[in-house]
Subunit: 280 residues, 2 copies
Amino acid sequence: MSNWKLILSYDGTAFNGWQVQPGLPTLQGALQAAIASVAGESTLPQGSGRTDSGVHALAQVVSVALSVSIPAENFLHALNRALPPAIRVLSAEPVPDTFHARHSAIRKSYEYRIFERRPSLDTSAPGPEPRLPDRICSPFLAPYVWDCRWPLALEPMQQAADLLVGTHDFTSFAAADPDLSQRSSTTPGLNPVKTIFTSSLTREDDLLVYRVTGSGFLHHMVRNLVGTLADVGRGALTPADFASILAARDRTAAGPTAPASGLYLVKVDYPAEPHTDAQI
Amino acid sequence: MSNWKLILSYDGTAFNGWQVQPGLPTLQGALQAAIASVAGESTLPQGSGRTDSGVHALAQVVSVALSVSIPAENFLHALNRALPPAIRVLSAEPVPDTFHARHSAIRKSYEYRIFERRPSLDTSAPGPEPRLPDRICSPFLAPYVWDCRWPLALEPMQQAADLLVGTHDFTSFAAADPDLSQRSSTTPGLNPVKTIFTSSLTREDDLLVYRVTGSGFLHHMVRNLVGTLADVGRGALTPADFASILAARDRTAAGPTAPASGLYLVKVDYPAEPHTDAQI
């Protein structure tokens, strides 16, 4: 047996999320089929976590164990030939048997991209705002952003985003269903306490981008954070309201869930990676 | 009656081309449905020309006549609310009754975007080429380019592209089927003589981009030109071979048809546009 670490980039638009489901196009299912056609083995690749329907990945990490021996470069090219263009394997490397994409992960980073249909609120501008025309979200951008109809003020959103850094109980931002995505199977149950290392917003070209890195994330947590941050940005909530929502540990307290199309899994970190020196 | 000029941008990936077809998602059909829901009138909007399945538009021009009166800004916003995000109306303006998106057009411009999976051929590099790894086409780029497996040399491609400027019989680059796209219905029949004003290639970021402007284009003409230019770029044909193919007026002489995903209709020109001063 050899154990593999794969890094995948995918456009989630046409898939019913990561997790394999009978009769539906899923990322895990497509990868499983590609591995079967390349290696002749039916094995279920394990992702660092599930991504929901329509969510994208710049670098999802996957582990999979195979009986056959195959040079890494050949495996990479053969997988990319077998996969649809919406899924690309960026790297394939042999790793020690102890490596598991989900269990071994210590940090994850997500990015959320917002296109504001209305020009953004400049809080330093004097006087009443004129009625501004809606901007039009390009059809080539629409599957990859939240086409948000409100103008957003960056400064109060950043004040709210700053409150997330540290270790908190994120129950208020968990999905309303009990299917919580857990980072580690060594913490059974539904532990809603996570540590956020960075949480920041920037404007880049036409987009407002939220980036967050944490020890783990509950199901729908990033999208619920962004939906609630947008409520702050449009003035429906204050940063103080946001703090109260976090403290409430109440799933009904937060704002709406932002659309899947704006969300990207961008990085998964593992401990110092001694396996890169290992020989299989 | 008021006559309208609409400018549309669309991602053609999910559509069976421009022309309405029963039971299939088409751009003309989607626009017809949106106009019907906004204006309450069933009328078939006329495009400047058809685009094939998977072909995109940055600025397709459409004309449509309506009985109802509606302010232009309201019409624009209502259409964009009614249309799927893959189709956006960029502008809507009333025009004289004499304006027709196809009959009135005098020039069209297309762009074709190629991603080279292998690093491009640098014809000035000395010595034999090392074996180079394939580059990976991002899943977010794949629907919008030709993911071309050959490295291409720009210089001989540009020499060939230069040969197209002027007035020529483009029969060699027409589709093998008789359904030729004609610019003007005032030239009935299948006139394969077209004038090309500009024809040039540039490298931009990771892409090789071909831009062509002409009086009109035959069905599949740009994709057949690009497929044959790529044969020149990879060394299978010389610029002199390309000249012979153009002179042959033989549909079987040219190279393969490049994929639809790389093609964009970028501009349609009309005579001096006196209608912009007109009041409806």
